[in-house]
């Protein structure tokens, strides 16, 4: 296995628990937070703010790395305790582009060490368009859900989120900001439906009841900083569990660079990131789960031909809206950092080509992050923002992505890089797609206004900022089975007998709904197919 992220964790668990005595070696870059875990307090956000004289250490960072200055980019929400997610990425995963700004991770648990927990099951139509088998995916969704724990509600949005899932825990309680918007939706439901929208509770990989060693969500509003109580699912929890097994071995500080397939084995080459030395391991089967850009790099390096690969990424922007009824409300009540509501635009009611907005209230990311966005003197901006913050509702809009426009990934030589190459990325949408996207955003703005939330700003952090990627090695179900740089259904690399790709590289279409639950379900299917082939 390569990678300990959401997909690596689910694939490894499937291999280990699948019977048949598989022995798994997980190779992982495995960067960890060795700075902040020990100093994060157990209190809730407000009590910490009012009592801890050392709070700057985790809110601003020991080196003040959490004080942003300059353009808002991908991953702006990563706080100092979460910044290990991107540690060493610029050096070890160099990427050059002026049109695509993805977030990649070399962390233990990958991007999942800081993900927002939003879970959505794709509809059958979406699964088919992505090249995924609906029936098997439904079973895999349930397996993943049982493992990570999902809370949600059977409401108007359930068909887009928890869909057919069973054993869903009750949702978290809404804070004042979300509750106000939700009440407004319930009052105007028919009008909102007529406009093609449905709103409901966001399904989250978050426990609202204790399960095993993981506790129930404690409403501390420290969601962007720590994993205390482990109510929020992080993939390292699964890998920690697997590491207790005799047939599972975890090795960190390894950057896998390429593989060589031999008649009865695969040799995996990499770099020891601590010692800077070359390393190699031999295995019977190789399952790659280093994220879709990571898989693209490893697969391309492993062959002589260096083609351009495609990429899918949900276009993303967010709207800052104000609910005037909440202006100046006391900020001391309960607040939740995770998305509590989701709004889906499905004008045809087909559950295909759906756009999705995740809705957030704002507090624990601190006032200074939004103050810098105000085009006025800072001494006027912060009292105004303090007044606005309880009323501030952030609406992060994801659009579905199919191929089109100009998009490509190319691995080019670069002597300065430790891997001797750099990934060059191009990304643009077709004019049609751009037009449709703008039109949809106008509709989101209108429906939010009808719910009493008025847009004050639109922020476009650029392509790549959705942090939802797929489609670099698309599934190919053609008869020949050896079309280079594609995957067979089941995740085996075309033309290979022993190499599988368990992340989202195979998806041929990327619905706007949070991709990660589907990534994890697909990772399970890939691991099952590797077990079957063994």
């Amino acid at each position: 296995m390569v990678g300990s992220g959401c997909t690596g964790a689910m694939a490894a668990a499937t291999l280990i628990e699948g019977g048949g005595g598989a022995r798994v070696l997980m190779l992982d870059a495995g960067e960890r937070d060795d700075r902040y875990a020990g100093i994060l307090p157990s209190g809730d956000f407000v009590s910490v703010r009012t009592t801890d004289r050392e709070q700057y250490r985790y809110f601003l960072g020991e080196d003040f790395e959490g004080v942003p200055w300059g353009k808002v980019g991908t991953g702006a929400q990563l706080t100092p305790p979460r910044r290990h997610l991107v540690r060493k990425v610029p050096e070890l995963l160099p990427l050059e582009s002026d049109s695509f700004f993805p977030l990649e991770s070399l962390a233990y648990g990958g991007l999942g060490a800081g993900w927002g927990l939003g879970c959505c099951a794709y509809s059958d139509a979406e699964l088919r368009a992505a090249g995924l088998p609906p029936e098997a995916m439904r079973a895999a969704y349930q397996w993943v859900a049982d493992r990570i724990g999902i809370s949600g509600e059977r409401d108007d949005a359930a068909q887009y989120t928890i869909a057919h899932l069973e054993r869903v825990l009750p949702p978290i309680e809404m804070d004042a900001n979300a509750a106000h918007l939700h009440a407004s939706y319930l009052r105007r439901r028919r009008r909102v439906h007529a406009a093609g929208f449905r709103m409901g509770r966001t399904a989250l990989a978050l426990l609202t009841r204790a399960v095993g060693e993981r506790g129930a969500y404690a409403y501390r509003d420290m969601d962007f900083y720590d994993d205390r109580g482990q109510s929020a699912y992080r993939p390292w929890m699964t890998v920690d569990e697997l590491r207790k097994r005799e047939n599972f071995l975890y090795r960190n500080n390894v950057l896998v660079t390429r593989f060589e397939e031999m008649p009865d084995a695969v040799r995996v080459h990499g770099i020891d990131t601590a010692a800077g030395e070359a390393v190699s391991h031999v295995c019977r089967r190789l399952v790659l789960a280093p994220g879709v850009l990571g898989s693209a790099r490893i697969v391309v390096r492993s062959f002589d031909r260096k083609p351009e690969l495609p990429i899918l990424c949900n276009p993303y922007c967010y709207l800052a809206c104000i609910q005037p009824a909440l202006l100046g409300a006391p900020a001391r009540g309960r607040r939740v950092g995770f998305s509590q509501l989701s709004l889906f635009h499905d004008p045809t009611g087909s559950n295909f080509d759906v756009a999705m907005a995740s809705i957030y209230s704002y507090r624990s990311l601190m006032l200074f992050r939004i103050v810098r966005e105000a085009p006025i003197a800072l001494s006027d901006a912060y009292p105004i923002m303090r007044y606005l913050a309880p009323a501030l509702t952030l609406v992060g809009i994801h659009h579905p992505d199919a191929r089109g426009g100009r998009r490509s990934l190319r691995l080019e030589p670069c002597a300065a890089s430790p891997t001797a190459d750099v990934l060059r990325a191009d990304f643009s949408l077709s004019e049609d797609a751009e037009r449709k996207l703008r039109d949809r955003e106008r509709r989101f703005t209108r429906v939010m206004r009808s719910l009493g939330a008025y847009r004050i700003r639109r922020v476009d952090p650029g392509h790549g900022s959705s942090i939802h990627y797929a489609g670099t090695l698309p599934f190919d179900s053609g008869d020949s089975g050896d079309k280079p740089f594609t995957l067979r259904p089941g995740g085996r690399l075309s033309g290979s007998a022993r190499v599988y790709v368990a992340d989202g590289s195979g998806f041929r279409y990327l619905p706007a709904k949070g991709v990660t639950l589907s990534l994890m379900a697909n990772a399970r299917l890939t691991a099952l197919s590797a077990l079957r082939d063994a």
Binding site: R49, Y56, G328, L367, I376, L378, S379, D380, R386, Y387
Partner: protein
């Protein structure tokens, strides 16, 4: 670090802190600001001149900050004022300024006052910034 740059960081902390709070910042705020400022790259000549101007003409900090917000929002000088703001937000003694505890009917009026002041400052600031840049 050169002693003169440490002195300037401290002076900046005092001036920017007073500008943001309307009162002298606490010793802890100054100490933290100096540590944080030491992590920033040095200012180029133009920005250093502007800081020197602001330290000599502290009344001009608000107007210049307002003008920078419109004309050069990424200015490192504004970045330093912003850094002081972030430091202040993380000190318990200033938390009430950042987390409203009660809702007062006068808040709307106060906010309108801030908005008006922001506008006036921006207009004055554009003139001051032009003069300071030529000086």
């Amino acid at each position: 670090m050169a002693p003169d740059s440490a002195t300037t960081d401290l002076e900046q902390g005092v001036a920017f802190g007073r500008y943001l709070l309307g009162e002298p910042p606490s010793q802890d705020a100054l100490r933290l600001f100096a540590r944080a400022a030491a992590t920033l790259p040095p200012l180029d000549q133009r920005e250093a001149r502007l800081v020197a101007f602001l330290l000599q003409n502290r009344w001009a900090i608000g107007p210049v900050d307002a003008a920078l917000a419109l004309m050069r929002p990424a200015s490192p000088v504004r970045g330093r004022i912003f850094l002081m703001l972030a430091v202040l937000e993380c000190l318990p003694e200033y938390v009430p300024r950042f987390l409203p505890a009660t809702r007062s009917p006068f808040e709307h009026v106060r906010m309108a006052g801030h908005a008006l002041r922001a506008l006036g400052r921006a207009l004055l600031g554009m003139v001051v910034l032009t003069i300071a840049s030529r000086a």
